[in-house]
């Protein structure tokens, strides 16, 4: 049962005072025996958040108490953070507002186990809960505050006017005590200005504008919201999203690049419509510079490009470029980005790059050699080496030759330790003379540093 917490008469306060000895979680609500699933166990019975009072005024936030020990799973509702997430859930509802609103929901329990949270944008008037597609979610696997030393879960999203939102609150694993299972769920809402005109591409569908492929497309971000068609991407959350679509006329790879500091995420979906299952990858903004992905494309198969924006000024825009991706190398989401997942079009680093440190690595190898005339017939030059204390990541290999010039280069996300043979792409004809390999990679401080390399040779 969800209890409103308001000022109590003094007689009631005595009881509450006695309960203080039970610790924080147990004073949150009287620990009623849990004999059955809570009344808000299903999305159709979502509980309202309740206002509270305080000695110094009425808090603008509202509370819900999630009693999860006897809660049950939700058949047919996608588990936004994987098969073990949302093992048992309760539901709350955020009412619609006359204007767009920013909704922030945070949940805390007595233990440090992060709580799973998901938001489902609804229609008004409701024709039954829409739970086919979570539109935002938070919990283990999202990689933000849920992965911190003292984790907490929270979802923040901007929704259009007249759209209620269902909030799914869940836990994983087997249930523990009622006190350990309980969570205080806190809702904060802020009204946003109503847009004078609808934002082009605020939702994904047949009416979503197409992106140009011959020139950059200017994409307005101000007023971006998240709708019911927006598939949650937990590692790349944003408060609002704007969509563009591309229908390639021929297959191959495309470089999708988004510039503009207010563009905070880039996610690309491939399919008739964007779904949770056809997301290709996502990228978060880390610093300045474009967010990039090198995306495989099939002729006539739409690509859905979602640009995330958090609290952009009303006139904020992003510049979207869609070009050929052949010969382009993308590292970790591009110059301004970071891809929180390994591999994929966003070129996220493999997980072992977390332990890589180029400053402590070393490259050795036997002297190489060969005939210049024969080597120049090939596009690449192969060189054997041995990487000690690898792997190293975001690796640039240059073959330096006569005149101190670079004759061939290669770039790779990761070079694993041990004996390797690398292929460097020739940028100019080789000449007779001495050559050496120069290798740079990322240190544990995130800087690109030279890896001590003793690989030399002579081409005749």
């Amino acid at each position: 049962m969800v209890l409103a917490a308001v000022s109590m008469p003094r007689s009631a306060s005595r009881l509450a005072g006695r309960l203080l000895t039970l610790g924080v979680a147990s004073v949150l609500v009287p620990a009623a025996a849990q004999a059955a699933a809570p009344p808000n166990d299903a999305p159709s019975a979502a509980a309202a958040f309740t206002p509270v009072t305080a000695e110094n005024g009425r808090p603008s936030e509202q509370q819900g108490i999630a009693e999860l020990v006897e809660a049950t799973p939700d058949p047919g509702v996608p588990q936004c953070l994987g098969a073990s997430s949302f093992a048992r859930t309760v539901w709350f509802v955020v009412p619609a507002a006359e204007t767009p609103q920013e909704i922030d929901v945070e949940a805390t329990g007595r233990t440090l186990d992060p709580i799973d949270l998901a938001a489902f944008v609804q229609f008004q008037p409701p024709s039954g809960p829409i739970t086919a597609l979570p539109n935002a979610c938070s919990g283990i696997g999202a990689g933000g505050s849920d992965a911190a030393e003292e984790p907490n879960s929270g979802v923040t999203l901007r929704v259009p006017a007249h759209r209620p939102v269902l909030i799914q609150v869940g836990r994983r694993g087997g249930p523990r005590s009622a006190d350990d299972e309980r969570a205080v769920v806190i809702l904060d809402t802020r009204a946003l200005p109503a847009p004078l005109t609808p934002l082009p591409g605020d939702s994904a569908g047949p009416g979503t504008p197409k992106a140009q492929t011959s020139a950059p497309t200017s994409v307005a971000l101000g007023g971006a919201t998240i709708g019911d068609e927006d598939p949650a991407q937990p590692p790349c959350p944003s408060l609002g999203t704007v969509w563009r679509r591309v229908i390639p006329t021929f297959g191959g790879t495309r470089l999708i690049s988004v510039s503009g500091n207010e563009a905070s995420t880039l996610t690309v979906f491939g399919g008739t419509l964007p779904t949770a299952g056809n997301a290709l990858d996502c990228v978060n903004r880390v610093g300045h510079g474009p967010l990039q992905m090198r995306v495989p494309a099939r002729a006539k198969q739409p690509l859905w490009i979602r640009i995330g924006a958090d609290r952009p000024p009303g006139a904020a825009t992003a510049s979207l470029s869609v070009g050929l991706g052949t010969g382009v190398f993308v590292v970790d989401g591009g110059p301004g980005g970071s891809d929180p997942t390994p591999g994929g079009p966003g070129a996220g680093f493999p997980t072992d790059c977390d332990t890589a440190d180029a400053q402590h690595a070393r490259i050795v190898g036997a002297a190489f050699g060969g005939n210049v005339k024969r080597l120049n017939r090939a596009r690449t030059v192969g060189i054997g080496l041995r990487l000690q204390r690898g792997p190293v990541c975001d690796v640039v290999l240059d073959l330096i030759g006569p005149g101190g010039r670079v004759y061939a280069s290669s770039r790779t996300l990761r070079l694993q330790g041990g004996n390797r043979r690398v292929a460097l792409v020739r940028s100019r004809p080789l000449r007779r003379g001495g050559y050496r390999l120069r290798v740079s990679a990322v240190s544990r401080l995130g800087d690109s540093v030279l890896v001590p390399t003793q690989v030399r040779g002579t081409f005749r």
């Binding site: 509370q63 108490i65 997430s85 999202a142 904060d188 991407q233 944003s238 408060l239 977390d354």
Partner: protein
């Protein structure tokens, strides 16, 4: 010594454990497996806290509208950060207000370290911290002890002074914020427009307080431990008049953890009572006198610590082999009556708890127990016994323990005549209700305690020692020494 590996550091930051638990499904390839840095500015300074001999918790905060971000912590032996000993990438997000916190292990005991945080778009100020001495060390320990910083009431000059001192640890005894808005007024230098009672407003309140230069500098330069008192939630909230809502309590406790370099107990995230060992010189017992208070069947206040914490404290005092057992204590334990009776919000409201604790100290024959206390905004020193009335009939009675109440950083006290306070309370050895500042403790063979007063009306105000006590080991009795007046 083997340098700490990056793997260990990531593990220490607890990020690895979280990522290892990532389940498959829901586009499992698109669940996060990496902690990465993100955008954001470090507008609220840096801090370090809860040091041990080989570990320290480092803190900062990223300001960004991004719901997810992260920062890299770099710890080095030198101020130029050339001799890096540890790095960690620490994830954060809006649900912890962008705060970043990492406990780094593998450090050397009693060693000074420097650190910065890096985001994708900013670099923090360089912070300094120090690990504690090892458990076997007999080196004297120096503490700075403060409490009750009310932002509108004055400048936190006590902190600015403490930041410059050679301290092993700073101890804050509660009322780090005051939840109610106040001012501006003609007699106070700055206003506080925030009524804090939920997540957003508590976070705004901490940010406002952290804008004080003295407090920021203290956090930047000294490792600290903190306990909370009532104003981190609401004034005297444990009287339940009215009871704070679950929202308010959760929000207040959460933000107090988010904004301070505390360590957390994984199964009890809001527990703050713990023991910190500073070599053989000093054991520091941090208490929580708010969260576990209870009333009896008649509705009267019953227990100030709760049974579990009380037993933990008594057991800890009995087991302690440290020369000095210092108890970080929110509210006064000496039964001080200024004419209107004892405050019911202090230990005076829980006479059974006070009797239980002081009796246990006496019956166990534990000497050198020292309470350092906040809350009451006065500088006062008292001797303690389970039956304080004995000091009326026998002023030379050997005390069981000593209480040093170290004033307030800025909160207003009570201007009373010392001789009248002592006449009414013969266990009181000193009283000053006018000054603001902090206490300094030097725990060696003798315990030297100094009270220091600050000019809080002046943003560059100075701080001077105005009281000094020497407490020889085994006496439980402080001797008041004369202190030369400050230079003009």
């Amino acid at each position: 010594v083997r340098p700490t590996t990056r793997r260990e550091l990531i593990g220490a930051a607890a990020a690895g454990a979280a990522f290892a638990a990532v389940p498959p499904a829901w586009a499992s390839r698109l669940l996060s497996r990496r902690a990465t840095i993100g955008p954001g500015q470090f507008l609220d300074g840096v801090a370090s806290g809860e040091p041990g001999p080989t570990a320290v918790t480092f803190w900062s905060k990223l300001t960004t509208p991004r719901p997810r971000s992260g920062a890299r912590l770099i710890v080095a032996r030198d101020e130029e950060l050339r001799k890096v000993v540890a790095t960690a990438v620490v994830p954060t997000g809006a649900a912890i207000d962008g705060t970043v916190k990492a406990r780094i292990g593998g450090l050397q005991p009693h060693t000074q370290y420097f650190y910065i945080w890096e985001s994708g778009t900013d670099v923090s100020p360089v912070g300094r911290t120090r690990t504690l001495v090892p458990a076997t060390s007999t080196r004297p320990q120096r503490l700075g002890v403060s409490s009750c910083q009310n932002y509108p009431a004055g400048w936190f000059r006590a902190h600015a002074h403490a930041a410059t001192q050679d301290l092993d640890l700073c101890v804050f005894l509660g009322d780090y914020i005051y939840e109610a808005r106040r001012g501006p007024s003609a007699t106070e230098p700055r206003g506080d427009p925030i009524d804090a009672n939920d997540l957003r407003s508590y976070r705004a309140k901490y940010r406002l307080y952290r804008a004080d230069e003295g407090l920021r500098e203290l956090h930047r330069l000294q490792p600290a431990v903190h306990i909370w008192d009532d104003h981190e939630i609401a004034n005297n909230y444990t009287d339940n008049r009215p009871a704070p809502s679950p929202l308010q309590r959760t929000a207040g406790y959460r933000v107090a953890f988010e904004w301070l370099p505390r360590m957390v107990f994984p199964r009890d995230r809001f527990r703050i009572y713990k023991r910190i060992q500073l070599g053989q010189a000093l054991d520091l017992f941090l208490l929580d006198e708010r969260q576990y208070r209870s009333v009896d069947d008649a509705g009267q206040p019953s227990k100030v610590l709760g049974d579990t914490q009380m037993q933990w404290l008594i057991d800890g005092l009995r087991a302690s082999r440290a020369q000095w057992k210092v108890i970080a204590n929110q509210v006064m334990i000496a039964p001080t009556d200024y004419g209107g009776g004892e405050s019911s919000d202090s230990w005076g409201g829980y006479p059974g708890s006070r009797l239980q604790l002081l009796s246990a100290i006496e019956q166990s024959g534990i000497d050198n127990v020292v309470f350092v206390t906040g809350d009451s905004h006065v500088f006062t020193t008292s001797v303690l016994a389970s039956d304080p009335e004995v000091f009326r009939s026998d002023p030379s009675h050997r005390p069981s323990a000593v209480e040093y109440v170290g004033g307030s950083v800025t909160s207003a006290g009570g201007d009373r005549v010392e001789s009248e306070v002592i006449a009414r309370n013969p266990w009181v050895r000193q009283y000053n209700g006018v000054n603001h500042g902090y206490a300094y403790l030097d725990a060696a063979t003798d315990l030297v305690t100094e009270y220091r007063r600050s000019d809080i009306a002046n943003p560059a105000g100075e701080t001077f020692t105005f009281e000094r006590f020497v407490q020889p080991s085994g006496t439980n009795s402080p001797a008041r020494e004369s202190v030369p007046p400050p230079p003009n």
